[in-house]
């Protein structure tokens, strides 16, 4: 059937169907053919199922069409489920999307370590390089261990999947909670750091940094709702631009340093004082500097979590991307730290200029390359938030699939993105950014705990897995993961201990609450499933019992008639009830009812009795609910309320009507053992006084 054909009427005695066959006479005798009429909204798929086409998703009214058009401009046209394979990431885009968080951490990891050491005086900054080397050592172990996670769990889920399967559900939920918190903080920290980078060369932004951060989160949300492939295309270039900018800076800086042309350090607006801010250099401070610098390791779990996002072979591509990510991060981080300590730059006391900016000014001056590096850094820091936007929705979907999060998180939107996860992440991250005033330093202490907790659990889980399975090569894998678990576990303790009073306590408080929430959600779904699951498909339907039907009637009009007619069609036990607000109107209604023939005994169906209730306090809903309660108490049969609902032509006409049916339906929603049936009466002003044309088919 083409779109301009009228759909054929169903033949007498046939049930209506989506598909109709009509035999047509051909030009010559014997040339008969059959035209198969199919609506454009559905096509026949494999196995006798109908598939809804894009036509079926088109809205009807002009308001719906306008809304659709706006959505298509913002988010793009809907994608078919089959396009999921095309939405996968190559290594190139995967590196840009899933590794941008880790790579971008190189822009502030050195500064975060230095800021802690600088409180003990500028001389303490010489310890930054050894600390950086230790962090790279941890990163190497993490990369090696995470590659084992990818190979063992190519279906994704990362630390959650590993911990759940090998240690237990609670351990899995702890890992999942830690990762969820980490992803939210990734978005908040990256956005704050991106705005901070912009502040370095546009100081006026500093005062409104929260607002700019929120705008950027909104932009990232829209980009991600367009689907992962498109988000990759939008966000891939900045990652590579950042790499070019940093490698260029490092090459130039190293050449200058190695040739003896060590540049003089540039000064930030308000440098740390040479004598520090009163603290003494000790083991605790060094450990704190290590844990602050270890923020650079965040984001390295994203690839293992998002393995299914890669093109086939997923695991191989993910491992290659992971190794590339580690190498690039290590090179930039170590290079920047070496140059910063050799040149002797000092961080700014009040975060007005980033260390990265001061170092770049020292090496290349404040010309175009400085602007280029700052812009590239700002953009990648902003887009590092994208790692959170990829990881959080995927992990939330896996949790929702396992019934630990609301089901909405498992549904893919029109662009095959996990829309609920993306929007939820944006809301929570925006809230945190606002609560912390957009300060990177205030947010950082919250950041690293989740990552290391998840790392430790996944490494521990893998150790148990290798021990249990004892596949070929299990000993090497077990040694690697044991070292990984130990190193990340120690780092976790260091981070938790040194940052506890700086804000880490908040994460340690939130994690158990989150675990409890996930577990409670699972319990709810389990109890609902127990109540609803149909185990025996041979079980007959429960015997039908005609219900007691109550039809609230406001006026004796066509809408009420339609509702009473329907009520009589489902049960012989129908009662009408009218709530009057005055004695006069009650009497008037009763008289009109008595005159109405439609209520009378007809075709064996008994007369419809009427109860009129005068409500001198003019309340309609409450007396009606009490009436229903009383009737219900006196009868064991299920109670059914049939509501006549008048539907005006336009949405704005709703405000001209009291919508009592709507309020009553809302009031009855949670009433047990009550069926509520809406009988809508659509108003069409056809000018036909008989009302024959009023009813919409």
């Amino acid at each position: 059937m083409t779109e301009d054909d009228p759909p054929p009427e169903t033949k007498e005695g046939e049930a209506p169907s989506l598909e109709e066959r009509r035999t047509r006479a051909g030009r010559l005798p014997g040339d008969r053919y059959v035209r198969i009429y199919r609506p454009p909204e559905f096509r026949r798929g494999r196995g006798g199922i109908y598939v809804a086409t894009s036509e079926a998703t088109k809205p009807r009214g002009p308001a719906g069409r306008l809304y659709d058009a706006v959505r298509h401009v913002l988010f793009g046209r809907p994608l078919e489920t089959e396009a999921e394979a095309e939405e996968r990431l190559s290594k190139k885009t995967g590196l840009a999307i899933l590794a941008s968080d880790n790579i971008s951490s190189s822009a502030y990891a050195t500064e975060e370590a230095m800021r802690v050491l600088a409180v003990a005086g500028v001389a303490a900054l010489t310890l930054t390089l050894p600390i950086a080397v230790a962090i790279i050592g941890v990163l190497a172990i993490v990369v090696l261990s995470e590659s084992r996670v990818i190979r063992a769990y190519p279906q994704g889920g990362g630390s959650y999947a590993v911990a759940k399967e090998n240690i237990g559900t609670i351990a899995g939920l702890v890992a999942a909670s830690a990762l969820l918190v980490d992803y939210v903080l990734t978005v908040a920290v990256s956005t704050a750091a991106g705005v901070a980078a912009i502040c370095s060369f546009v100081p006026a932004v500093h005062d409104d940094r929260v607002m700019w951060g929120l705008i950027l989160i909104a932009l990232l949300t829209v980009g991600n709702l367009r689907g992962i492939r498109e988000a990759g295309l939008i966000f891939a270039a900045p990652t590579y631009v950042y790499m070019v900018a940093m490698f260029g800076l490092l090459a130039f800086g190293l050449v200058r340093v190695l040739t003896g042309d060590v540049p003089a350090p540039a000064q930030p607006p308000d440098p740390f004082p040479a004598g520090g801010t009163g603290e003494v250099l000790g083991l605790f401070l060094i450990l704190r500097a290590f844990s602050s610098g270890a923020v650079g390791l965040t984001g390295s779990e994203a690839i293992a979590n998002g393995t299914p996002n890669f093109r086939r072979p997923e695991a191989k591509n993910a491992v290659i991307t992971l190794v590339l990510m580690g190498t690039i991060f290590a090179t930039i981080f170590l290079g920047l730290t070496f140059l910063a300590t050799t040149i002797g730059v000092v961080p700014d006391l009040h975060e007005q200029e980033t260390l990265n900016s001061v170092l770049t000014r020292s090496i290349v001056g404040d010309g175009w390359y400085w602007v280029f590096v700052q812009l590239a850094t700002a953009v990648i820091l902003l887009l590092a938030a994208n790692t959170g936007f990829t990881g959080f929705p995927r992990l939330a979907s896996i949790l929702a699939h396992d019934r630990f999060m609301p089901r909405q998180f498992a549904f893919r939107g029109e662009r095959l993105a996990f829309s609920t996860g993306i929007v939820s992440l944006a809301l929570v991250a925006g809230l945190i950014l606002w609560a912390f005033g957009g300060s990177v330093t205030d947010l950082i202490p919250l950041y690293t705990i989740g990552v290391f907790l998840a790392f430790t659990l996944s490494q521990g889980g893998l150790v148990r897995r290798w021990w249990r399975l004892r596949n070929p090569g299990w000993r090497i894998s077990m040694v690697i993961n044991t070292i990984g678990a130990t190193v990340t576990g120690v780092t976790l303790l260091v981070v938790a201990y040194t940052k506890f009073t700086f804000g880490a306590w908040m994460v340690l408080l939130v994690l158990p609450l989150l675990v409890l929430m996930l577990y409670s959600i699972s319990q709810h779904y389990r109890s609902v499933a127990d109540a609803l699951t149909l185990e025996d498909l041979d079980a007959p339907l429960p015997p039908p019992a005609p219900p007691v039907v109550i039809v609230p009637v406001a006026r004796l009009d066509r809408a009420a008639l339609q509702a009473i007619a329907f009520a009589r069609s489902i049960s012989p036990f129908v009662r009408a009830v009218h709530i009057a607000t005055s004695e006069e109107s009650a009497r008037h209604f009763r008289e009109r009812w008595e005159r109405w023939k439609g209520k009378d005994l007809v075709d064996g169906r008994p007369e419809v009795p009427l109860d009129v209730i005068d409500s001198p306090y003019r309340s309609l809903i409450q007396p009606l609910l009490k009436y229903i309660d009383r009737i219900d108490q006196r009868d064991r049969r299920p109670i059914t309320i049939v509501l006549a609902e008048f539907v005006p032509r336009h949405w704005w006409e709703f405000i001209l009507h009291s919508q009592t049916a709507f309020r009553l339906r809302a009031a009855l929603l949670f009433r047990p053992n009550t069926i509520v049936i809406d009988v809508p009466y659509h108003f069409r002003d056809t000018g036909d006084p008989s009302g024959a044309g009023d009813r919409e088919r």
């Binding site: 059937m1 035999t23 030009r27 059959v34 035209r35 199919r38 026949r44």
Partner: protein, 142 residues
């Protein structure tokens, strides 16, 4: 020369996407209505309106992919599924009923006895069609 309504018979061969793209190109200047049809040929030992599930599914699949190709090429193709004893007669009758002014036929490159083989359906539509007929033969595979 412009065409207002173009019928494009589709058989599910490799030439289908080319034919659909050609139809979109030819129809674009006059914003022609494109009607893609697939005829399921019913054997004589079956009733003409027999429900042939595998053929129906195949037909729906190839019509859906033709509509997708048309959309990618910047056009819109309506689709129609028919059952007949002879595909050619149904194509001709549909073109007549729809008042089409062009039928574009696709011919996959096939050889029989050393010569390029033009199928029976193409020949019969060529001879019996009430409107212009354009045959697009697939290029020789290299």
């Amino acid at each position: 020369m412009t065409f207002k309504r173009i019928v494009v018979p589709l058989a599910g061969t490799a030439v289908d996407p080319d034919v659909v793209r050609l139809a979109v190109t030819i129809g674009k200047p006059a914003k022609a209505q494109l009607i893609g049809i697939h005829v399921i040929e019913v054997r004589w030992n079956l009733a003409l309106d027999a429900v042939l599930e595998p053929e129906l599914e195949r037909g729906e699949d190839l019509l859906a992919s033709a509509a997708r190709v048309a959309e990618q090429a910047g056009g819109h193709m309506q689709t129609e599924l028919l059952q007949a004893r002879e595909a050619s007669a149904a194509i001709i009758d549909t073109a007549r009923e729809r008042e089409a002014d062009l039928i574009i036929l696709g011919m996959p490159y096939r050889k029989r006895l050393g010569r390029v083989y033009v199928g029976r359906t193409v020949q019969e539509v060529y001879v019996g069609a009430p409107c212009a007929v354009l045959a697009y033969r697939q290029e020789e595979p290299r």
